[in-house]
Amino acid sequence: MQVEDRENESFGLDALLKLAVNGDQTCFAELWRTCNPRLERFLYAQGATGDPPADDVASETWLHVVRDLPRFKGDFADFRSWLYQIARNRLIDTARTKARRPKATVDIDEMDPAYQFTASDGLADGVVNRDEVGKIIEKIKALPAAQSEVLMLRIIADLSVEETAKAMKKTPNAVRVLAHRALTSLREEIGVSE
């Protein structure tokens, strides 16, 4: 039943995407509403905090998307892979720019990820345990970059293994191996047995 629902949803999203590609502004807005919240959270969890904030990077990502959307070919799964691929590239660019810029003062926001999360602009408002989420994000970030990224894409962005593989330009099996290693490391860290 769940699979059927997902298929129907996917079919609807495919149609939505097709209309958006052909210039329907309402469908594009709907597409944005569907994809943007998870994209922002993914960017936030990946380190787009403060300077520049996640929504800025997301906005840059969407600007890139709208520029090339008329030439896009594929279904909704392909679109998501493409979207997160662009987002990753934007993040890398941002990190490079940030590294080149001299630091004037030590920013306390960059010292404590849990604090960053608590101080974030209303992303979490009582529905989730902020400490819990802050801690798990911190632990995931402590993993090697590829493993951390796989977990973020799989859990926060809700991409399938194939979509994650496309976004990271890896094979699905490589993604599975990375996810397995990441999970094992996290369990060891937290002290949870399988």
Binding site: A29, D55, L63, V128, N129, I136, R176, H180
Partner: protein, 255 residues
Amino acid sequence: MSRVIAWLRNILTARSAYPHMDSKFDADLVNDPIFDGLRRFAELSSSPNSVPVHLLRQYTAGQRRAQGRRKWRLGSGALFGVIILLPSLAYAGVLPNSVARAVQKVFNVISVPIQIPSVTKTDGSPSKNPVETGGSAPTGSVQVPDQGLSQSEDGTSLLSPGQNSNDGNPESPESSSPKPLPESPESSSPKPLLGSVSGSISVDGSDGSDDAGSKLTGQSSTGLGATVGEPGTDNPEPSPSDSLSGIISGSSEGD
């Protein structure tokens, strides 16, 4: 034997040894209780529900650009098709007379053969340049009388005996190679040569008499001609028109 069995067992159990390679593991990862909080965090709907205006503006601009590209592609394709089809339509008589004539005119212009720019002649005589006239290039054969006369009147050797062997083989590179011209001790003025001379040298006068003329025909490597007089004769300074003629010609005159 035991090694082989162990190896086979390894292969057969590889799937269970690496459960993460199984697609069943994909769902397990996402539903792991470790990530409960993270999942809830991801599912929150927070950010503003309306698309930013600048994004919509960019979207509209992008669509307009894409339409422009599409139109340009279609237009250029159609133009190309028309260009390809016009001559056929003109020949088929489908086009109106005036259009067909215009097409004919355009294709006449297009189909004019490429002309090699030639040197303008002052005397108005037709150009002897074989490329211009459409004639064949000088064969470069050397015609020598039976006696093997290869000397000019004053006894200077013009041709080495071995050069006769190229008769009947006009394409031989040796026959068209520049021949060294004799330096006459009596000549008072140097003979102007424009470029090296290549081509045929025919020596008339098989009886070896004094009035035997020598005729040098050929073409200089620069495309210009040069008049070469007989050694020992008072050859007037060549006029520009002579120098520019495509043929080297000269007649032997006895002293």
